[in-house]
């Protein structure tokens, strides 16, 4: 499996929170290589089951979210300019970006900005110029339609890759590659894989999918902050230094310890990410689903989160996949630590 190719397929699909159909179908076609027991639920959650056959084993949930940040149309003014709100997107990065408006059909637009030649009056509004007037937009664009910022996936150097929506399509790719590594192997767990909707707007997809999964424990895969020179070292992981194993009051410490032990034993590059409460990932919701599901978060460090130029090191995705695979394998991770 070529990870960059998989990332390109995933990151070129749209799928702003609450409108994940196309991203879900891209992810479904990729996961269907590993099991026939897969599909998309009414919430645009992708699910896939991989059972060992024979004895019933505990169920391990592998989850990553499929939605991405973007914008949502809230109003169309008399001249046809679209007023939009952010669904998680970094509003500082929008000026003069090219966007796609996902209405009845896809149309292109530009985020309005004033040039340096004229004095700026900060409006705090996000305005999109589609080149159409209000009448021409009727029947094509309506309030509630989602908008994505255009940015093509590109390789920066060797294993450094930039694309929009790496949050959390990088996590989706890491689970897919873990399944590739586990192909034909005996497992300690029955696996339920979910690629869930609406994480960016409150983890709603995971709340539903985790309940339906009947999981006994869960491994969440998300992205976290990679160090850039303007950031604080202690607030970031480092790109290229491996998978970030979460340690937090909201995560199951036994799982964290088991993952650290496995990473050491198998010489998988890892770093720890210590948080002092919740994690801001689906693990927060999954862990309190039903009667409670022990959960831990593995994070892939990315730079420039929630922008069109999110950047990842493919080696970190591989390290994450290897650790997931080791945890799920026959001699894998355990809660008995």
């Amino acid at each position: 499996m070529d990870i960059k190719n998989v990332l390109t397929q995933l990151c070129t699909a749209d799928g702003v929170s609450g409108d994940e159909a196309s991203a879900a179908s891209a992810a479904l076609s990729l996961v269907s290589r590993y099991t026939d027991d897969c599909g998309i639920d009414s919430f645009y959650n992708v699910f896939a089951k991989i059972e060992n056959g024979g004895d019933k084993r505990p169920t391990l949930l592998l989850d990553a979210h499929i939605d991405r940040v973007g914008l949502i149309v809230t109003y169309i003014d008399d001249d046809g300019f679209i007023i939009a709100s952010s669904c998680g997107a970094d509003e500082r990065m929008l000026a003069a970006q090219t966007v796609t408006v996902h209405g009845a059909k896809k149309i292109k637009g530009v985020v309005c900005t004033l040039p340096p030649h004229v004095k700026k009056e900060s409006s705090g509004r996000i305005v999109i110029d589609t080149g159409y007037n209000k009448k021409q937009l009727e029947g094509t664009v309506a309030a509630g339609d989602r908008i994505t910022v255009d940015s093509a996936p590109r390789t920066l150097s060797d294993n450094i890759f930039t694309a929009p929506a790496l949050d959390d399509r990088a996590g989706v790719a890491s689970i897919l590659y873990a399944l590739e590594l586990l192909k034909g192997k005996k497992l300690k767990y029955d696996l339920v894989v979910t690629f869930t909707a609406r994480e960016e707007t409150g983890e709603d997809g995971a709340k539903i999918a985790a309940y339906d999964s009947g999981a006994d424990l869960a491994l969440e895969t998300d992205v976290s902050f990679a160090f850039t020179p303007d950031a604080e070292r202690h607030e970031c992981g480092e790109m290229g230094r491996g998978v970030m194993i979460g340690i937090a009051p909201s995560l199951d410490r036994r799982m964290s310890n088991s993952l650290i032990r496995l990473a050491r034993e198998k010489e998988i590059p890892y770093q720890t990410e210590v948080m002092n409460g919740k994690t801001g990932t689906n693990a927060d919701s999954i862990s309190v689903t039903g009667g409670g599901i022990p959960a831990c978060t593995l994070s892939i460090p990315i730079k420039y989160m929630h922008t069109p130029v999110e950047t990842v090191c493919v080696d970190d995705i591989v390290a994450t996949s290897r650790l997931i695979a080791e945890f799920a394998a026959e001699q894998g991770g355990t809660l008995n630590v």
Partner: protein, 338 residues
Amino acid sequence: MFDMLKELCACDGCSGDERGVAKYIISQLPQDCEHYIDGLGNLIVTKKGIAVPKNKVILAAHMDEVGFIVTYITDDGYLRFAPVGGINASAVIGRQLHFKNGTVGVIGTKAMHQIPKAEREKEPSFDSLLIDIGASSREEAEKKVAAGDCAYFECGYTEFGDGMIKAKAIDDRIGCAILLLLLKKRLPYDITCVFTVQEEIGTRGAGPAAFSVKPDYALVVETTTACDISGVSAEKRVCGLGKGAVVSYMDKGTIYPKELYNIAFAKAKELELKAQTKTLIAGGNDSSAISVSAGGIPTLALSVPCRYLHSPSCVIKKEDALATASLAAAMFCELCAK
């Protein structure tokens, strides 16, 4: 014309680095044109017409575009850089830039989650930004990029909406395209077109080019700021898309001769071409240099209204570009015989 515009916008040519644009323009010249490149890099093209004009008239468009120049490479392999020409830093973050050798970089900051809200609302400054080309050390970065190299916005030429075009560098490649279109025609009079350099860093190329040619009149074919967008009051919109060629009486660099201004509107009316003026004294162009060159040259600017100027997404309307091209051709003939 728009096929040429697409190719012109794809050329990378920051101020001081315009050779690639000149090369493309030369490749498009018909056989009956003569050309030379002067010491500064200005491309001067002449073509014989049916008659020798009463007045020598030049048309000028600048070849350079706004971009970025690498000033320093950090120990960690990031690139410090500065804008070449006026660019808002907010139009730079969150996007890809490329170098002529194909190297791609991205510009971002630490994650929004790590920045307090008040700080997030401040306009970023170039001093705080870095280009990330995926290098992990200065040595690795230096294999691809050196200080002094120019970085460019992605071209992204797209036709969209109701006859709109979006791309980088439409300022002033549309002017170059309009001049090329004219040079490809059979003309009633001898013509000289100057494709100038270094407009974006202070209209530096046009003056010497005009000095060498010493015309009686000059027409600058340009783009100009259109702020006809939501949230901008009517008097501050400067000009608007779909309202035709822009003829201004004054901008930040030039007070235009009233006589030429009136001729332009009369000509537009006669030919039923849409034309408008600017409602704000803003911007400037090569006219400021040409008009005071060689003892003074009466100069008029004819501009295509353009939204989001100096960003990677300059937006023009095709019909405005066509109106500007027609008016430029008509004004050329008019001034030749005046």
